[in-house]
């Protein structure tokens, strides 16, 4: 089937739909334009369509291929009637099938909008009073706009124009202020020019969906850049209303907007910036009861919140749903960025902060103060990392924490490891398998060798023995008599080497500690005597 064609016969939409079937597709979206009985106050009885077929087919096919490329859909086609049509007849049909519904809807919408705008099709309207008139396509009509009121060749169809008329290419002179300016579409050429982005990267962004929690200091730059980049679907969750004290750092909004819901304001701003982005705004607080439902269907979540409760909730959601969350937090002149992948063995927020931090202990922006550009920098970094992540480009490694002090301009990239006893990982069914049993005893030629092997020393001898034969390396002193009572000073995940004079007591001590969950502790075989004998 040609991507775009004309038909002189009534359209068999069921047959057209069958042509869109594909085993790789989970979604099909169609649009039908019908002949309506009225236009601009005139009762219409029937229509005739004529097209400049050669040109129209080329332009129509170009539009369909653009949609396939832009949205990454599997199949797309458009069929337009020519000839005489009666009321309720199908004048135009667009069908798109894709792996997922979102790109199918968006590609379908793109095709019909562009066809209406660009394809040279004329329509003769027959009115009830016996009159008739020709109406041509939007592009063909534009240069002739001074001669007549703008006429929508599809005005008989029961759909709505939702185009964002940003400005008119043709200067207004007041005489034809009713003229509709030409439709402007977003232009991503400046980022498509990057070889890491290109057309396929742009299609990935358009097919991507990102949920942003918080439309404040971090959220504003995040939403601006994601919408600018053409991320296809953006969700916004924020329960707050705009206050004058927000504006020094949330410079997307206006003083006159104060009192309005930030989620709604942000959605309006995105619509103005890039009407191609599908926005869902939720003026509510994310909580354990609604988090899974709200996050459903998004590829990536960006935490732009200002409280630990939300951050830990999102961390647990990341692990539970195996979905990446990119966290950012700021404090006065500095901030932190951390990526939790959710689907692998890298560190999560609770691996780094096992003691769930409570709100109110360290100050937020309201209590501690913040300079406006600081969340601006971190929100921009977050948007950058998000775009790179969606495009599969290198960036912040999962688990790593980026610290950036904007006062001293120090940056630190700290590696965090998955904590073996992490609660969030365990609850998400990602507990680490029990470690392989390790030999209880291990032999070394010297304490220096043991130190290089990463062992921390625990001397289990009593004070008198230690005084007579001091260790040549730093060690914790934990005599057998105090082993169990003082074991709390040891870290259960620590790599300890227990040491005594002959290796007998230390082996017993290691055995005891193993039973208490110290799985990586060992005993120095032969004790200090063994060392000296082999040295």
């Amino acid at each position: 089937m040609n991507a775009f064609r004309f038909s002189t016969e009534p359209l068999d939409t069921a047959a057209l739909q069958r042509e869109m079937r594909d085993v790789t597709c989970g979604g099909f979206a169609a649009f039908e334009g019908w002949v309506r009985n009225h236009n601009e106050g005139m009762a219409v009885t029937r229509l005739e369509y004529e097209a400049f077929v050669d040109l129209a087919e080329k332009e129509g096919a170009r539009i369909v291929h653009e949609a396939i490329e832009r949205y990454g859909v599997t199949r797309a086609a458009c069929v337009h009637r020519v000839g005489s049509l009666a009321l309720t007849d199908v004048a135009v049909w667009v069908g798109v099938s894709a792996a997922h519904r979102d790109e199918a809807f968006r590609a379908c919408r793109y095709i019909i909008d562009e066809v209406k705008h660009r394809v040279p099709i004329w329509k003769k309207e027959h009115y009830e009073n016996g009159d008739s008139g020709w109406v041509n396509c939007e592009r063909c009509a534009a240069p002739a706009a001074h001669r007549r009121e703008y006429a929508d060749p599809y005005a008989h169809e029961g759909d709505h124009h939702l185009h964002n008329y940003l400005h008119d290419e043709h200067p207004h002179d007041g005489a034809h202020h009713h003229d509709h300016p030409p439709v402007l579409t977003p232009d991503y050429s400046r980022q498509i020019a990057l070889k890491e982005v290109g057309i396929p990267g742009q299609a990935r962004l358009l097919a991507a969906s990102v949920l942003v929690i918080g439309a404040g200091g971090l959220g504003v730059p995040v939403l601006q850049y994601l919408a600018g980049a053409g991320v296809g679907r953006i969700g916004i969750i924020d329960a707050d209303r705009l206050e004058p004290s927000n504006l020094h750092r949330q410079t997307w909004y206006a003083l006159a907007d104060c009192g309005r819901e930030k989620a709604t304001l942000a959605a309006e701003r995105i619509n103005a910036l890039n009407p191609e982005v599908h926005v869902q705004a939720h003026s509510l607080r994310l909580d354990a009861g609604n988090a899974d439902r709200l996050a459903d269907g998004y590829d990536l979540i960006l935490d732009c919140s200002d409280n630990f409760t939300t951050k830990f909730l999102l961390n647990d959601l990341a692990l539970r749903t195996r979905k990446p969350v990119l966290f950012a937090s700021v404090y006065q002149y500095e901030g932190q960025l951390q990526l939790v992948r959710g689907d692998d063995d890298t560190a999560c927020l609770r691996c780094v902060w096992p003691e769930a931090t409570r709100d109110g202990i360290v100050g937020n922006c309201a209590e501690a103060g913040v300079l406006g550009p600081v969340p601006g920098v971190f929100g921009s970094l977050q948007a950058l990392e998000a775009i790179k992540l969606l495009l599969g480009m290198p960036g912040l490694e999962a688990g790593d924490m980026l610290l950036f002090d904007l006062l001293s301009l120090n940056t630190q990239r700290l590696r965090a490891k998955r904590a073996p006893d992490c609660d969030a990982h365990r609850r998400a069914g990602m507990a680490l398998p029990a470690p392989l049993p390790v030999e209880l005893e291990v032999q070394f030629d010297s304490l220096a060798d043991a130190q290089s092997a990463g062992f921390l020393f625990v001397d289990v001898r009593d004070a008198r023995e230690r005084a007579d034969d001091p260790l040549s390396a730093p060690a914790l002193n934990l005599p057998m008599s105090k082993l169990l009572t003082d074991a709390a000073m040891l870290d259960s995940g620590g790599r300890y080497l227990l040491i005594c004079a002959t290796g007998k007591r230390s082996a017993a001590a290691a055995d005891l500690l193993r039973s208490q969950g110290f799985n990586d502790c060992r005993s120095l075989r032969g004790g200090l005597k063994g060392l000296k004998a082999s040295a």
């Binding site: 918080g214 404040g216 200091g217 971090l218 959220g219 935490d303 732009c304 919140s305 200002d306 409280n307 630990f308 951050k311 950012a328 937090s329 700021v330 404090y331 006065q332 500095e334 901030g335 932190q336 560190a347 780094v352 902060w353 003691e355 931090t357 709100d359 202990i361 360290v362 100050g363 937020n364 922006c365 501690a368 913040v370 969340p375 924490m401 610290l403 002090d405 006062l407 001293s408 120090n410 630190q412 990239r413 700290l414 590696r415 965090a416 490891k417 921390l456 730093p474 914790l476 000073m489 040891l490 870290d491 995940g493 620590g494």
Partner: protein, 82 residues
């Protein structure tokens, strides 16, 4: 334990309370826990150790990990502003 020279960096609330972002100091502290205790004598740190994380040489570490000369120690409090 001989004194050793260590580079310390402070973030967020700790930076504020220490009145500086970083310093190089000589200490007899054997591990990060002792170092923090020692610095708490000098600065009005309000956060207890179990609310902080420590990174040694760009890796999140253990408070009882022994320190050695030349180590770069970063004390990090949790931050939630947005």
């Amino acid at each position: 334990m001989p004194d050793q020279t260590i580079r310390v960096q402070y973030y967020a609330l700790l930076r504020e309370q220490a009145g500086r972002s970083d310093e190089t100091l000589t200490t007899s502290a054997r591990d990060a826990r002792e170092l923090y205790a020692e610095l708490s004598q000098r600065y009005p740190f309000s956060l207890p150790v179990d609310m902080l994380r420590v990174a040694i040489n760009a890796e999140f570490g253990d408070w009882s990990q022994p320190l050695k000369a030349g180590d770069a120690v970063v004390f990090i409090p949790p931050v939630a502003g947005g």
